[in-house]
């Protein structure tokens, strides 16, 4: 595999492979010196055209634990501000000798464009409302850690699915591994042609939550409030949020997941995030292991050799 642009690049087998590699790297991260030389001499560039805290730091930590050299790129201090085109920016960085580019952009498809323009391996770290494949991988890994398997589980995704790259990648990964996915959202936040997606859709949050293994809350994108998608956040929270009352009625052992950042009190009640079945911080921790696995897969010359 040269690039990771979409969950489609992996398929079920690929996802399982990343998860089993991630197990090794979780062990590495627990060592007193959590570092292996697997990617020594490799340069990984963080090409973040859109703000990000957790994803960017997670990739940086992952690359560094593999001993790769990490170059940062921040739009605020770059020539993009001076009007440099995307292609020229990529060519410039490419000329410095990058082995991998981790790309985030507000526009769908940019990682695929970057992949056409350079020799480096490209990892999609979130492109517009398209995909965020490493998020889906860490979510699968988290579910496997907690529930043993993804296959056969009922995963309810709650919230702004229409504008969510996390949901698009998640749905692909969960269903590839054999989970059943149900979307719950006001109709304004469902994607067009949702009937062509491999999911069920429900408007009845209370019934669905009584019969699930995972409830996956998505962030309400407050920046979209001008689009008349919702009457108010208060109404959203009351009708579509994971309130304390709803969370209490979840089946025993059902996980509460969220990709972060959380709008506390909007999509999820703050206290629910502190319950033992909430996995927000675990997801972040697993993100490092999974991204180590992805970088290792893309950049390590001989992936059949043991990790170390």
């Amino acid at each position: 595999m040269k690039h990771l642009l979409s969950v489609d690049d992996l398929g079920a087998e690929g996802i399982e492979h990343v998860c089993s590699l991630a197990d090794h790297f979780t062990e590495v991260s627990q060592r007193p010196i959590p570092k292996v030389p697997a990617l020594r001499g490799k340069t990984v560039v963080m090409l973040f055209f859109e703000n990000s805290t957790r994803t960017r730091l997670s990739f940086e930590v992952a690359a560094k634990r593999l001993s790769a050299d990490v170059m940062g790129f921040s739009i605020a201090s770059s020539s993009v501000q001076k009007g440099e085109s995307l292609r020229d920016t990529v060519a410039t960085i490419s000329a410095m000798g990058a082995h991998a580019m981790v790309v985030r952009h507000r526009s769908a498809g940019v990682p695929a464009q970057v992949a056409k323009w350079c020799d480096a391996s490209v990892v999609n770290a979130g492109d517009g409302t398209h995909e965020h494949p490493t998020q889906a991988l860490l979510d699968c890994y988290t579910i496997k850690e907690r529930l043993g398997t993804v296959a056969g589980k009922h995963i309810v995704i709650l919230g702004d699915i229409k504008h969510s790259r996390v949901a698009r990648s998640g749905i692909k990964a969960f269903t590839a591994l054999g989970a059943k996915v149900t979307l719950v959202a006001p109709a304004t936040l469902l994607p067009p042609a949702v009937e062509s997606w491999p999911v069920e859709v429900s408007m009845d949050i209370d019934t669905v939550l009584g019969d699930c293994d995972v409830v996956y809350g998505l962030r309400v994108q407050l920046e979209r409030q001008g689009e008349a998608l919702l009457p108010s956040l208060r109404e959203y929270s009351a009708h579509w949020g994971l309130t304390v009352g709803r969370a209490k009625r979840l089946p025993t052992g059902a996980l509460v997941m969220h990709p972060g950042p959380v709008n506390r009190g909007v999509e999820i009640a703050p206290e629910v995030l502190d319950w033992p079945n909430a996995t927000v911080n675990e997801q972040v921790r697993h993100g490092v292991s999974v991204r180590m696995a992805v970088l290792y897969l893309l950049l390590h010359v001989d992936t059949d050799k043991p990790v170390l």
Binding site: A108, G109, P191
Partner: protein, 428 residues
């Protein structure tokens, strides 16, 4: 008496026009057709063996980009693209910078067009700066010969303003052409809203954004009695409404673009903005409906919506790139290769039907008869060729057909009696 210029004979072709078809030669002299018949001769011979000889094509919808975006196209370069595609006349769209919304800009376009290899007609904007707020001085532009008015690029959002524009235009004897798109439904959209946009995470434009305005303008046509022309129709619903309106006797006309009868929204799957166009590429059912509309007369004309853009701008992320694709040099081949219509019908869709809509039927669109201005196209309907973006006459390269094999190719184009394209070569 001034000395006669040399004559040119177009030899061995099949003449196809609105009166039928016949195997005759055509002699051209001093800008006019001076002979039509068997075994004619002339000073210069243009071989038309195996070819169709038709009126030069008329494009109702060309973006020549001048003034304002000369790095993408100029009136001259776009006109060369036109004649290479067999067009002897183009109607330049007004979304230039500044827009063609007053006499001064019309004059500039016409002055530049006078030096171009094809006849360049200027459209005019319906509203000042194409903002949809205040009527542009249509009468002063009409005095300069403008016959078609449009805010192309956007539709007139206000029904009240469109009504007034139609009333005003009908009094001037000019035609309003509408780019049908309800902005409040289309905004944030960069491709057709459907399965593919959903999958790709690209904001969608529903078919209804176009159809609602078609429906509204048909109603306004009924109200005012003023004719209206629908630009680049792309959906089954739009075409059905126009078909019904015509059957009801309303004075509506319509055009369709080659990309809307040849490409589907799936083409956007690689995020290549070459395939971004407005109205967007639609699913196959709509593509089929456009073909049906061209076949059964619901749609009058093939219009290219030739929209040059610089490579840089088309390399932007899909949602930031400008919409539009080249069309002049591939329109004939696509019509011949994809529509499965008799050649005479294809020629009608490209020549006399659009000429009538543009109001230039006296000089363009045939018939091919003695005394008519010699605006002619000679094409080989069977020759195959492969589109190479780098050899197009346009300054821009944004054709969605690069590498595609085409059937049917222009051999000669005559404008005002001059062979500006002869044996596929441009002659300046």
């Amino acid at each position: 008496m001034s000395p006669k210029l040399a004559s040119t004979v177009i030899k061995g072709g099949l003449v196809v026009d609105q009166t039928g078809q016949r195997q005759v030669d055509v002699v051209v002299q001093d800008g006019y057709i001076v002979g039509v018949g068997p075994d004619l001769s002339g000073d210069e011979v243009l071989d038309a063996g195996g070819c169709v000889v038709s009126a030069g094509f008329v494009d109702l919808h060309t973006h020549l980009r001048q003034p304002g975006l000369e790095e993408a196209e100029t009136i001259e370069s776009g006109s060369w693209a036109a004649v290479r595609g067999g067009f002897s006349a183009v109607v330049a769209m007004p979304n230039t910078n500044p827009p063609i919304d007053c006499a001064a800009v019309v004059q500039e376009v016409l002055a530049l067009g006078a030096k171009a290899p094809c006849d360049v007609y200027s459209s005019g904007a319906i509203t000042v700066e194409r903002k949809g707020e205040q009527l542009a001085p249509m009468a002063e532009m009409a005095e300069l010969g403008v016959r078609l008015f449009t805010d192309d690029g956007t539709g007139i959002q206000s029904a009240g303003l469109m009504r007034r524009a139609m009333e005003y235009a009908s009094g001037l004897g000019v035609l309003l052409a509408q780019h049908c798109e309800v902005t409040s439904l289309a905004q944030g959209g960069h491709m057709h809203e459907g399965e593919w946009s959903s999958r790709l995470g690209i904001g969608g434009v529903p078919a209804e954004a176009e159809e609602l305005m078609v429906m509204r303008d048909i109603a306004l046509c009924r109200l005012t009695g003023a004719p209206v022309h629908f630009q680049h129709l792309s959906t089954r619903g739009s075409i059905a409404m126009v078909r019904a309106a015509r059957q009801g006797g309303l004075p509506v006309t319509a055009e369709a673009a080659p990309h809307h009868f040849t490409l589907t929204d799936e083409a956007c799957a690689g995020y290549d903005a070459t395939f971004k166009v407005n109205p967007p590429l639609r699913p196959l059912d709509d593509v089929v409906a456009v073909r049906e509309g061209l076949g059964d007369g619901a749609v009058d004309a093939i219009a290219t919506d030739h929209a040059p853009h610089t490579p840089d701008s088309k390399e932007r992320p899909f949602d930031q790139a400008p919409p539009g694709m080249l069309g002049l040099e591939t329109a004939l081949s696509l019509a011949l290769g994809e529509l499965n219509l008799p050649i005479a019908q294809v020629v009608g869709l490209l020549s006399w039907q659009p000429a009538a809509i543009a109001g230039i039927q006296d000089t363009h669109g045939g018939p091919i008869a003695v005394g008519r201005q010699a605006n002619l196209c000679v094409f080989d309907p069977e020759e195959t060729w492969t589109v190479n973006p780098d050899t197009l006459a346009s300054l821009a390269r944004n054709t969605p057909y690069g590498g595609r094999e085409m059937r049917g190719r222009v051999r000669h184009t005559l404008v005002g009696g001059t062979a500006v394209v002869a044996d596929q070569e441009m002659r300046s």
